[in-house]
Symmetry: C2
Subunit: 326 residues, 2 copies
């Protein structure tokens, strides 16, 4: 059995708890938290330990899955905990991956551990789709679409607008753009042409709806480059109709081969997820298995999904995979 | 530069010739053939060498890409040429992969070479999709659909029917079945419910069309389990409308996570190819790069796509991949 620890018991941590149950060769041995352990109530009967005491679990946890956020938690936690454990995280700030890789690599190598970073669906499974399809179709163009699904970052940005009590934001791919890409037509698409943004907003009592709407649709980086629609709804409607965290997305590469590129090819990978955190947790669990195996073979340092052979993710043997899934 | 050799100059060999040109770190150094070399005319200015003289090229070829058929060529050729070179093949008889793996593994290990087998899209990229999605969604169901595209095996089977001069067979997924799978409904589908078969047949002069049609639609294994339609056309129409070798396909895994499996997820990988052999050749070229790198690191023996980390396929460095595609 691979002994798994979880650091951070929010949506993602709860997802990992389910994912470990769904993998017969894994057991959850501890949940680590920076909160008062007595205040954290896991769904299953697993000890809750303060993060400061993690060193005491050094020999009792094979892989620690870090379930914090990319903005402030993981840049500090992943290198720190790589000194104690093999670790897996879902660091998803694309621009900062090289720096995060370097920090985790140094810590993991010094301690003789394996750290797998940026595991999830984007980065993660979408990265795999991009790298495989680029290596195969060298003459081509990449497209990534996200949605329809909830963007936590955009929902948070709306919640910071004065007069907003609560909000959910959906990122939605433009159907015509997706169809053009899938057809192999190789279109050039602006930001506005690829995605629209749908906002469901609960106002504070007495707030000025027109002012809130204007503040949202003109917000730089988040909304101003998109066609954004704002729907004002009641708190009850938000709870009833928008409580979930669904997401989806598409990675498409279209390219050409042969004489004067006469033959067109389209490679597509897509996901449709009822629960973004539970699915991300499943990917983390599979890469926790890989981290454990790599460490057992003597590997050290930081890895990403690009550095790990697919067979390492599976509980099945190489012979079984060749016979059944190849 | 990675020095590539091709064994066998048919549709696939010609595709590899294009694929090598599309990879800046590769050069084609020789085409090997079992025919009279003077009768083989590559599109580019590359030497043609009789296969019996391949040993003379032992130190001049880094990776030999085998472009023969799975029925009789590859079971013999891949182990034989693994004694001389690192090799890559597209062996696609799923049931015989374990035996082929064992033969290539023994030959490649004894000679200190790397042999990568069953590279292409199914087996190959579809195998990757199946293994990744199974490892992530452990509680789920797999579906593979092929088409719309030309099945060479089924076209050949029709050509063996008395009275048939020439034929092309298209495998076609049933749209309703594909939609049900994509919706996450997890349907149980019979062979007949998943695919239909469309046959375009040129009759010999004086042949009995009704007898030919009956022989096709009742043919065991190939057609009797499917709804098959037979269209009789002229030789000119076959040349004009059915000269290409397009193909397509879909790998879908749907599964569930969370409390009582309340959250459904669908992972889909699909391909749409104007030229099956040219696309397969692109996959072979990417894995030739991986074979060369693995051999340079001292690896020996047989590998499949499941044993090779994605970064090995790409001409870009690890740092560049992390910065740009992860």
């Amino acid at each position: 059995m691979i002994r798994i620890g979880i650091l951070g018991y929010g949506n993602l941590g709860r997802g990992v708890e389910y994912a470990v149950e769904a993998n017969e060769d894994m057991e959850l041995v501890a949940v680590f938290t920076r909160r008062d352990p007595a205040s954290v109530k896991p769904r299953t009967n697993v000890p809750v330990v303060h993060a400061d005491k993690a060193a005491e679990w050094k020999d009792k946890v094979d892989v620690l899955i870090l379930c914090g956020g990319s903005a402030t938690d993981l840049p500090e936690q992943t290198p720190a905990f790589a000194k104690l454990f093999n670790v897996v995280d879902s660091f998803d700030t694309h621009a900062n991956i090289p720096a995060h890789f370097a920090a985790v690599d140094a810590a993991a190598k010094a301690a003789g551990h394996v750290g797998v970073i940026s595991v999830g669906w984007d980065p993660g499974m979408f990265s795999l789709a991009r790298v495989y399809s680029n290596a195969v179709l060298t003459n081509g163009t990449d497209y990534t679409f996200w949605g329809r699904g909830v963007s936590q970052g955009h929902s948070d940005a709306i919640r910071r607008v004065p007069g907003v009590k609560d909000a959910k934001q959906y990122t939605v791919p433009v159907p015509a753009a997706l169809e053009a890409v899938r057809s192999g037509a190789n279109p050039t698409l602006s930001t506005r042409e690829k995605h629209t943004r749908e906002c469901y907003v609960v106002l504070e009592e007495g707030a000025d709806a027109a002012a809130v709407e204007k503040a949202i649709v003109t917000m730089p980086n988040y909304f101003s480059d998109y066609d954004t629609t704002v729907h004002f709804i009641s708190e009850e409607e938000l709870q009833r109709d928008h409580a979930g965290l669904p997401h989806a997305g598409f990675v498409v590469r279209s390219g050409a081969t042969g004489k004067d590129g006469e033959h067109k090819h389209v490679i597509e990978f897509n996901l449709k997820l009822d629960s973004n955190p539970e699915f991300t947790a499943c990917v983390l669990a599979a890469y926790a298995r890989a981290a454990h195996r790599l460490a057992s073979e003597g590997a050290k340092g930081c890895k990403t999904v690009l550095d790990i052979a697919p067979a390492y993710l599976s509980a099945r043997s190489g012979a079984e995979l060749r016979a059944v899934l190849l």
